[in-house]
Symmetry: C2
């Protein structure tokens, strides 16, 4: 599945000057993924439609099946990239701080920021039933993102691996729950810029409130 990455843009050298003539080439996968991400960004996770993705990519509704099998396959690819982006954001954030405690705090902020700025993608990443939940690459991408947390946590709390895992689960739960509740407007509207900033300062308080405990326990 997912093809061998395509032969690096095979050029139709003799005819058709524009690459959009007749048939798509190796770019369809990317075009479909991009189209899907655009839908998620513009209208949220529930608005995704395989046909709309195909429409935006300029192909027939049946075309995606040859590359991704079905809608779940395409969305799984989108989710994998989402986890990669999330892991990258968490890693970048941590790298910008010196103090371990600050790294964790910054990661918490970055996690929620990611969720609130890319709600459609974020929701889809955690909509197992719309994905191929047991896809190895998806599972690995998800675990890799979680590991970014564990690395900092282990540095902070020490203890046995199991203790670190529990602490990481606690941290992840907090920021994930906060993000989810915020996205469901449980802390007020997140649409306006003012609402967004209010929620982020609230998160700041929440993190300062909960996580000092981890610091004291090493």
């Amino acid at each position: 599945m997912t093809k061998p990455i395509a032969p690096a843009r095979a050029k139709p050298s003799h005819k058709a000057p524009k690459p959009e003539a007749g048939y798509h080439h190796g770019e369809l996968q990317e075009a479909l993924i991009a189209a899907s991400e655009a839908i998620l960004a513009e209208h949220g996770a529930e608005a995704f439609t395989l046909r709309e993705a195909a429409r935006r990519a300029g192909v027939s509704p049946a075309a995606p099946s040859h590359h991704f099998g079905n809608a779940q396959g395409l969305l799984t690819e989108v989710a994998i990239r989402g986890y990669d982006a999330l892991a990258g954001a968490l890693r970048d954030t941590a790298s910008r701080k010196q103090d371990t405690r600050e790294k964790l705090h910054a990661q918490g902020l970055a996690y929620v920021e990611f969720a609130l700025k890319h709600p459609g993608r974020f929701q889809m990443m955690f909509a197992n039933k719309r994905l191929v939940a047991d896809d190895p690459r998806l599972r690995q991408a998800s675990r890799a993102a979680g590991r970014e947390f564990e690395i900092i946590i282990a540095e902070l709390v020490g203890g046995t691996p199991k203790q670190a895992k529990t602490a990481a689960a606690a941290a992840w739960s907090t920021v994930h729950g906060f993000a989810k509740l915020a996205l469901e407007d449980k802390f007020g509207s997140v649409k306006s810029e003012a609402g967004y900033r209010e929620i982020m300062t609230m998160l700041n308080h929440v993190l300062n409130y909960l996580w000092p405990a981890s610091n004291a326990r090493r």
Copy 2:
């Protein structure tokens, strides 16, 4: 919308011994809600279908519209009852403990237990886009459930109302995030009885890990 609660079961006294003859009467709302809850319990939130709910209630696909407007209306009613049940569970749980700290801990366990035992209902309660998100009764029911947390939290941490709200948000985020992540299999499979118990003991550790801080700060 949602009708004036129906005239208390108008009996077809003279004909038709069985109440299932020809037309439904004041019981359709209840029948549809029950059918919807059954679908959620059996196959999860994504499996819900208005037509299937109508099918189970023994009516045509168009019948629900007269009572709930559309699918969102019906699901909103289901979500309201879900929040009521959740609030009741949280209240009952708290009432069974003496120590405030234990009340909070027990509520955390009860929250996740509710989510894991009624995943379909729980997921639907937090699927704003599938509900009439601004329905006053829904908002009130949601707030009432959240208040069960705030009551205990305020008792535990004291401080200003805003501090209490922040602490409640922290507590709610933790258990909500844990439940959500568990439901997406991020802590291992929750299907088996063994997996369920493992996750609940993990939650126990998480709560003991995070919330003692609240205790120390009063």
